[in-house]
Amino acid sequence: MSFTETMTVNMGPQHPSTHGVLQLVLELDGETVTKATPHIGFLHRGTEKLSENRTYHQIIPLTDRLDYLAPMHNNLGYVLAVEKLFGITDKIPERAKVVRVMMAEITRIKSHLVWIACHALDIGAMTVFIYAFREREHIMNMYEKLSGARMTSNYFRVGGLSADLPDGFEKDVRDFIDAMPGHIDTYEGLLTGNKIWQKRVMGVGEISGEAAIDIGLTGPALRSSGVDWDLRRDNPYSGYEDYNFKVHVDDGCDTWARYKVRLLEMREACKIIRQCLDKLKPGPILADCPKICLPPKKNVVNTIEGLIHHFKIITEGPKPEVGEIYQGVENPKGEVGFYLVSDGSPRPYRMKIRPASFVNLQALPQMVEGRLIADVVAVIGTLDIVLGEIDR
């Protein structure tokens, strides 16, 4: 029972627990949140508008900057969408597909590491943050070896990959996935049996499966509400149908369930990466579609055809047929989709990005209203939002 007036409090955009520039206007009755209104758009860069003025190849670096914690997933979603638009999906060489899946799963671990680090830090478990970022550093180093950049990788290309794996890369990956399950045990040792952690996450931010579908939750957040849906298994892309993996579902519907599901997903990702390493055979890494895919530099400087194709693709850009397609991929945070409309010109007429975090954030008010203000921090952490993707 309370006799006080409600009070409006600003949380963010400069607030360490809002994971970027998210502003929440909270109406409080004592410590209870009666209304939460998210304000977004502080990081809006107009990616969709920019894309309409670039050729299909030039857009790939823009997609890195959406969900910057999982850049390769955005690259993957985009290049798959473009390949579908050009009708070259079945021409992608096997090696490129395997490397794509491998890097996508490494990226999943990378993204989940930031989630567990920041989520635990927000709630007060600081050690996990240090440990998780130590492991993330290994992945960043792998990224650097592979693409030259630690975060904005820009590694996938329409039709394949920008470069083959560097020497010794497979060993790095194998060492990493050999060690990773042990590291996950460490995080679990710090958190799972921890009474304080349990009290902060159990029963917090509950959302039923039905409500989750209605509000559009995807990814681990949806699977923790008991909905068995994973695009990797249900609408497989890039050869995911050839891998043996389990989709983890939990009926808990709360922050605790989402914690368990994401940890299991990290373990599952290690298994998928191991299968990728076993599948990896030498071979071409770029589809044989010279009018669409950028030729390797070796061909550009040595053959006249390569030079002409390179010149045409760079100056004019490949032209798809008139049409429209939608391609969704299972990002660590949920479904990221690219809806491309082509009018036959070398630039997309319209590109709509379906961001996972944007839609997931929409569930925040109904998950925190009626709960304590401290739970807001836990719910933001468990939704695993990235403002780069929300604001685009």
């Binding site: 977004i40 758009g41 809006h44 107009g46 969709e48 508008k49 920019l50 003025n53 579908k84 638009l85 009708g87 409500a211 579908i213 209605d214 509000i215 559009g216 909905v227 849906w229 249900d234 609408n235 049409g323 429209e324 397609i325 939608y326 969704g328 479904e335 989709g337 809806y339 409309v341 007429y349 319209r350 709509k352 379906r354 944007f358 839609v359 929409q362 604001d391 685009r392």
Partner: protein, 160 residues
């Protein structure tokens, strides 16, 4: 080519509403009348099981009539099937009925569509700008909105 199963069912239920059906790369797009969009979406959700709205956006076909299309990418979680609905919207009457009563997730998608494309939604519970500032003038994703923003020299390419 075999027609999508949902197309026949929708045509049977709303014979006058389906204006066109397009197949491209194995994806089905249905263009339907704007007046019936809420009824059609409710039917798609309740009777055909398309319980998930993936995405909603507007497309500006400047110079054509009708000028805008509102696009609904819907998904059936049980049968794992995708479908696309499109609604033509005239520039003079750029308003569509909201589907946020059918799928709650449409709320923010429609706000974004209003913010960036300038298509308004009737009976929307909270139609405010979402990505741009509240006092912003214009709708940036319209084709007649300059890339570099209003009041600046248009971009002519890097080497011109």
């Amino acid at each position: 080519m075999s027609e999508h199963a949902a197309v026949a069912k929708l045509k049977g239920k709303f014979p006058d509403s389906v204006l066109d059906v397009v197949e491209f790369r194995g994806e089905t797009t249905m263009i339907v009348k704007k007046e019936d969009i809420v009824a059609i979406c409710s039917f798609m959700k309740k009777d055909l099981g398309y319980n998930f709205l993936c995405d909603l956006c507007g497309v500006d076909y400047l110079g054509k009539s009708p000028r805008f299309m509102v696009v609904y990418n819907i998904y059936n979680i049980t049968t794992k099937d995708r479908l696309r609905l499109k609604v033509p919207v005239e520039e003079a009457d750029a308003r569509v009925d909201t589907v946020s009563g059918v799928w709650g997730t449409a709320n923010w998608h429609e706000r974004e569509c209003w913010d960036l494309m300038g298509i308004s939604f009737n009976n929307h519970p909270d139609l405010r700008r979402i990505l741009m500032a509240d006092d912003w003038v214009g709708h940036p994703l319209r084709k007649d909105y300059p890339l570099q923003g209003p009041g600046r020299e248009p971009y002519k390419g890097r080497y011109k």
